[in-house]
């Protein structure tokens, strides 16, 4: 199905309330996935991300996690909306290739602006020691 069909069949966002956890994912960022991201997706093959870094081994660029909110939404069968209108992330540490992370999405609030529905969503990335490495906020325009 395509994005429009997906959004139409998705769970009604009105069934969620502010503060609800949308979903959570725990996985390892495989070396191959990190390499593919920096080379194929971003065209940025800096050695920090491919070979070695001052952090002990190659690291995953923080931006790797910026788009994870989409997977969090689809995992919960929530609408992925029409467009991302705002994004912010605070980086407090690093994730190395092969490390396990837990990515969690939480609803901050739903609201309307100029007659259009929006969702503010918080995203956190924690390492295997449950330390928050990245903290972000996403604003989605739910319908054009």
């Amino acid at each position: 199905m395509d994005q429009l069909d997906y959004n139409n069949q998705a769970v009604d966002w009105h069934t969620y309330k502010n503060g609800d956890i949308i979903s959570s994912m725990t996985y390892r960022v495989a070396h191959a996935d990190a390499l593919s991201y920096v080379t194929d997706a971003m065209g940025n093959s800096n050695s920090f991300y491919t070979d070695n870094s001052p952090f002990g081994g190659p690291i995953v660029p923080p931006g790797y996690f910026y788009g994870e909110y989409l997977r969090l939404l689809t995992q919960a069968n929530l609408p992925m909306g029409a467009l991302n209108s705002r994004l912010s992330f605070q980086s407090k540490g690093v994730i190395r290739h092969g490390e396990e992370v837990t990515v969690t999405g939480k609803i901050d609030k739903f609201y309307e602006k100029r007659g259009r529905p929006y969702l503010d969503m918080d995203v956190t990335v924690k390492n295997k020691d449950n330390i928050e490495v990245l903290k972000g906020a996403v604003t989605l325009l739910l319908k054009l």
């Binding site: 199905m1 395509d2 994005q3 429009l4 997906y6 996935d33 593919s36 991201y37 194929d40 997706a41 971003m42 065209g43 940025n44 800096n46 920090f48 870094s53 001052p54 952090f55 690291i59 660029p61 923080p62 931006g63 910026y66 788009g67 994870e68 989409l70 997977r71 689809t74 995992q75 992925m80 029409a82 467009l83 991302n84 209108s85 705002r86 994004l87 912010s88 992330f89 605070q90 980086s91 407090k92 540490g93 690093v94 906020a137 054009l144």
Partner: protein
Amino acid sequence: MDKRKIEVGYELQSVVKNITDDSIYNYSIRYSGTYVKMIHIDKESAKRMGFPELVVQGSQTLDYANEMLFKEYGERAIDNCSVNAVFLKPVLSGDILTLKGQVKESTQNEVDNYIVLDIWAENKLQEKVMAGEAKINID
């Protein structure tokens, strides 16, 4: 680090990205799950949503800005920094993005040591498609 890079008014070396179907697809295929054809990976889906070409994810544009920050400030732009941006216009396949930045605030004292930058992206028509800020701790 060259001290000029933390002075107010310093303009970062811009980063230019040619936006192609491949670059958009390769970035976004990770997010499609197993069954959803998004506006970022499928042209027919994009057209149904009103876009003539594949659409770049805002997060991809923001990560291009990260690349610009990293080139200037190295690891300081990775583990102790923040970025935030609003996306002003959709960016479509075939466009050329230029990422730009300028230091607008610089604080160095016993307690704080950071810079704040305006960051933005322009399309090939030199229209702003993304605008925001970055804060980098310089310790």
